[in-house]
């Protein structure tokens, strides 16, 4: 073994030693892997939607011609901008400004809540149900499954808000907040695809 090799291994060893103790880094890596995997479920639903829509020309339930797009558009804007709000919250936490973090996290939760409420209002005003043909099934499956994710995101944010009141909670980093924020961005990106498929492509 040559001397350079020993040295380079030493350097590598130091780097790797550092990585070994980087449990939060592992968690973040694992969480991203999980989200990528989770996105395949949505991908399979999207594929199903596209296949059904392209192979059944008249797949709307009787009496339905299309969907109203105005309120959902407002909903979309609220949800997408909440992604920026949670980013600001994360920046505040990064600068150790806890109250700024809490306020912007609350704002994110409110925007998510507004989205869910808007979704509920839209659902209650629709003339078709889950069992009304392929379109009804696909519509409620996609929006419902996504809505469950929004709800999960809000619950995670509530948990993060509560945890921020434990003193010394952020001494060892804030992987929980990062993961919550990543999850929220993920939910947003999925919604953009979903909105394009269901509302824009009619």
């Amino acid at each position: 073994m040559t001397a350079e090799r020993v040295i380079s291994q030493d350097v590598e060893a130091t780097v790797r030693q550092h990585q070994e103790h980087d449990a939060a880094g592992n968690s973040k890596f694992g969480f991203i892997v999980f989200l990528l995997s989770e996105s395949v479920i949505f991908l399979s639903f999207f594929t199903g939607y596209i296949v059904y829509k392209t192979t059944n020309p008249d797949w709307y339930p009787p009496g339905v011609t299309g969907l109203e797009t105005r309120e959902p558009l407002i909903n979309t804007l609220v949800l997408v901008s909440s992604s920026f709000v949670i980013y600001v919250a994360e920046r505040y936490l990064h600068d150790k400004k806890l109250w700024g973090f809490r306020i912007f996290l609350l704002a994110t939760m409110a925007m998510g809540g507004y989205f869910l409420l808007g979704q509920a209002v839209e659902w209650s005003s629709l003339p078709f149900g889950f069992k009304d043909g392929l379109f009804g099934g696909m519509f409620y499956l996609l929006t419902g499954f996504h809505g469950l994710h929004v709800l999960t995101g809000i619950l995670l944010q509530t948990l993060m808000l509560g945890r921020s009141f434990i003193s010394g909670n952020y001494d060892n980093g804030f992987f929980g907040v990062e993961a919550t924020s990543l999850f929220w961005h993920f939910v947003d990106v999925i919604w953009i695809v979903l909105y394009t498929l269901i509302y824009v492509w009619q």
Partner: protein, 571 residues
């Protein structure tokens, strides 16, 4: 200063985890030690292997005569459904996850998996899945009868009218098994990417780790598609949506796409770790480096990629358009390339080696020969004209049982025997092992070879009775099936008695070259006192170069060849 710590008690290397008993009782606790979890997986799944095997022997008992006389036809449907589901979801997947769990951290020089608690949760879902599967025998209407593929419209019928029927229980069981597999896959991928010991670059990582990585990546991209399909199927059964119900405008073919998009690559989830074990076992028992290690390692990832593009070959007879058939015929045949690379590498590895015909070596060689045969009939089935001819016949059954029993189960046995001294510190009984091998190999041939001619003659699968002209082959297959049942007895006897009173053989009885053999047998808690510093690639047989640059476990004096320069004439 009184310091009240909310942290868990400090883990002392070489001592059991705090609160965990250091005897057999630890296997019944919520342990986070990857070695305990690995053995929990292996033993639990072997229990279900016996159940699945019993179901198959009842089926072979039914098929020993042409008439449906032993069991009712609906019972027969339930039997093959549960046989397939238990063998895949309760035996093959979990036992390989167990072997991976035990070996991957040891082989990459890590102290544990990246997420030990998640690991334990993944394991404890497995018994829940098993209970759900078995509970479906007790509900009105019996278990699901739609096969392990659960195709609609058969699977969305609900003759009993109960919400809690065999099919719903089946979907719940598969869903929980899926959650467990995804959590396991996230754990494995993170561990392999981020926890390799200093100096272990990608091309110093053992081929088994590569193959586990390939397999778990398939879980990550494939399993969610099946989950999506299963959610839609469950909604069709319970709520009455119309996704896959043709009478309500649905498209049952779409379910087949979702199902096979995962379930074909799932074959590679099972075979890849077995390939990895062959690649580990052959060099040890032939005393030669693995031939073409880098190519064998990379071919695992190639299989991961290609296997995602072949699923339609299960649907050549499902009104698939011609262009799609041709496309998927070509991609299916492409899988033969990375598989062929591996077989070539293994043959070249043992070529001119000092072969020791120990039990793991026999099982590995037997598994490879069976894999070769199964691979050749696989090429037959990938070809559209032949596939349409033998579609839904016993030829297909014979083919995939040669893969699953001939190659995968034999490979699992090879792995269990090979690492048994590592897991227990004791040696198994070689005579019983050889008897086990002989019975298994003969039983495999006797059971599954006759299915090929029966299938070519046109015997359909999934039937409880058949035409008299197929009787000859079926009697042979049934006798073989009972022989396979018999073959597990020497294995169980061997494992139990050698675990209790086998000969103690030290830390490296095979004189093998690898990180897992650098620690004690069974390995201490956290595996290594000091992380090993890897300075050369794996499989250094006859190369006179040390594997590690430090002494990972200074307390252990009995250090094998791997640490110091080796005498090439000895190896």
């Amino acid at each position: 200063m009184t310091n009240i710590s909310l942290e868990a008690p400090e883990v002392v290397r070489g001592q059991p985890y705090p609160g965990a008993p250091d005897n057999w009782k630890r296997f019944f606790t919520f342990s986070t030690d990857h070695k305990v979890i690995g053995i929990q997986y292996i033993v639990t799944s072997f229990f279900f292997f016996l159940i699945g095997g019993t179901l198959s022997m009842i089926m072979r008992g039914e098929l020993i005569t042409p008439d449906a006389d032993l069991v009712d036809r609906t019972v027969y449907n339930a039997l093959f459904t549960m046989h397939g589901s238990i063998m895949l979801f309760m035996w093959t997947f979990p036992v390989l996850v167990g072997l991976g769990n035990y070996l991957v951290p040891l082989m990459i020089g890590a102290r544990d998996m990246a997420f030990p608690r998640l690991n334990a949760v993944s394991f404890w879902m497995v018994p829940v899945v098993g209970v759900l599967m078995l509970a479906s025998f007790l509900v009105p209407g019996g278990p699901s009868q739609s096969g392990w593929w659960a195709y609609p419209p058969v699977s969305i019928q609900n003759p009993t009218g109960n919400l809690l029927n065999g099919q719903v229980l089946w979907i719940l069981a598969v869903a929980i098994s899926g959650v467990s597999s995804i959590m396991g896959a996230v754990n494995f991928v993170t561990t392999i990417f981020r926890m390799r010991t200093p100096g272990m670059t990608w091309f110093r990582t053992p081929a088994f780790v590569w193959s586990v990585l390939g397999a778990q990546l398939i879980q990550l991209y494939g399993l969610p598609a099946l989950t999506g399909g299963a959610v839609m199927l469950l909604l069709d059964i319970t709520i009455g949506t119309s996704f896959f119900a043709p009478e309500r405008g649905g498209n049952p073919i779409l379910y087949q796409h979702f199902f096979w998009f995962y379930s074909h690559p799932a074959v590679y989830v099972m075979i890849l770790p077995v390939f990895g074990m062959f690649s580990e076992i052959l060099p040890v028992h032939a005393r030669k480096p693995l031939f073409g290690y880098r190519v064998i390692a990379a071919s695992s990832i190639l299989i991961t990629v290609v296997s995602g593009l072949v699923w339609v070959h299960h649907m050549f007879a499902s009104a698939t358009p011609s262009w799609m058939r041709i496309l998927f015929m070509v991609t299916s045949m492409l899988v033969a390339i990375p598989s062929g690379i591996k077989v070539f590498g293994w043959v070249a590895t043992i070529w001119g080696g000092k072969i020791r015909f120990t039990t793991p070596m026999l099982f590995a060689l037997g598994g490879i020969s069976n894999w070769l045969f199964a691979g050749i009939t696989g090429i037959f089935l990938a070809s559209v004209p032949i596939d349409i001819h033998v579609n839904n016949t016993y030829f297909v059954v014979g083919h995939f049982h040669y893969v699953l029993y001939g190659a995968i189960v034999m490979g699992i046995y090879a792995g269990i025997y090979h690492w048994f001294p590592k897991m227990t510190g004791r040696m198994y009984y070689e005579g019983l092992g050889k008897l086990h091998f002989a019975l298994t190999y003969l039983g495999t041939a006797l059971t599954f070879l006759p299915m090929h001619p029966a299938g070519l003659m046109g015997m359909p699968r999934r039937v409880a009775s058949y035409d008299l002209e197929f009787a000859y082959w079926n009697v042979l297959a049934s006798l073989g099936g009972f022989l396979l049942g018999l073959s597990t007895l020497p294995f169980i006897l061997n494992m139990v008695s050698s675990w209790i009173r086998g000969e103690k053989v030290g830390n490296n009885p095979w004189r093998a070259y690898g990180l897992e053999w650098l620690t004690s047998s069974p390995p201490t808690v956290e595996n290594f006192e000091e992380l090993p510093l890897v300075v050369s690639g794996p499989y250094g047989y006859g190369r006179n170069q040390p594997l590690v640059g430090n002494t990972p476990n200074p307390g252990l004096t009995e250090f094998p060849e791997s640490l110091t320069a080796m005498q090439s004439d000895e190896l």
